[in-house]
Symmetry: C2
Subunit: 120 residues, 2 copies
DNA sequence: ATTGAACAACTCCTTAAAAAGTTAGTGATG
DNA sequence: CATCACTAACTTTTTAAGGAGTTGTTCAAT
């Protein structure tokens, strides 16, 4: 999706923060739009590209593909290629780490809903 | 810091997700660079603009000002203007909600450090 | 007593970089 | 030839950074 510029202050500051604390790296991942929704949707049983696409109405193909790739890279989901079966298909599911993260995010979510006040 | 374009798909999707679940709104806030670090720094006792600036070496004035304003709007910190005293000064501190969030983020942080594997 | 430099806590404007979205297209399978 | 699971190229929108300027107070020298 386009190369990053390694010489910018922008990049420097980001890596500075990510080196300082892993939380920054995690938040940066989670902040990619649709990413948590993709995770939750997989958790709820939408295991295929097309059903995820249908479930997350407004997501576009390239973004969904990118988010799946990211989640896989970070070992939060696994990609299963069922080549032997007819029809051949790809299925995604959460890893243990993914499930644990999902649980933690559940906690954050109820905090957000019950204890935060979002301005106008 | 510049107006948002309300007619874009970008904006539409963001509000769609934020309406769907408050977690998205919270993550969007947390993903603003330096924001969590500003919170933690205040928690550790850096209560003034200048000491925060010093603590977070590479942050620039306008970003620090913006993050403080955001944190205040979301009621995670309070701004105290000590006008009566000499020298007059401004002090920031965490609210109860802010402290609670900080604790939750602590949990996420140890998850990130201990259970996640970040690619290369 | 007034001028001036220094600092605190910002704001405003511009530019650069990253992220999201749009459109079109690919290769495999049935 | 239609569907699935994508990829690539391009445009638009958003975010971060850079730098100058502002208001108000303190302290020191003229």
């Amino acid at each position: 999706m386009a190369m990053r510029k390694l010489s910018s202050t922008n990049y420097y500051n980001q890596t500075f923060l990510e080196d300082k604390c892993a939380l920054n790296e995690l938040i940066h991942l989670l902040s990619k739009r649709w990413l948590t929704e993709v995770m939750f949707s997989i958790e709820e049983g939408n295991s295929r590209f097309s059903s995820l696409k249908e479930d997350l109405k407004h997501i576009s193909d390239n973004i969904l593909a990118d988010r799946l790739k990211l989640l896989e890279q970070y070992k939060l989901i696994v990609r299963n290629n069922h080549l032997g079966e007819v029809p051949a298909r790809v299925e995604y599911s959460l890893t243990e780490t993914g499930e644990k993260l999902s649980e933690l995010l559940g906690g954050l979510c109820s905090f957000a809903e019950n204890e935060m006040e979002f301005p106008s």
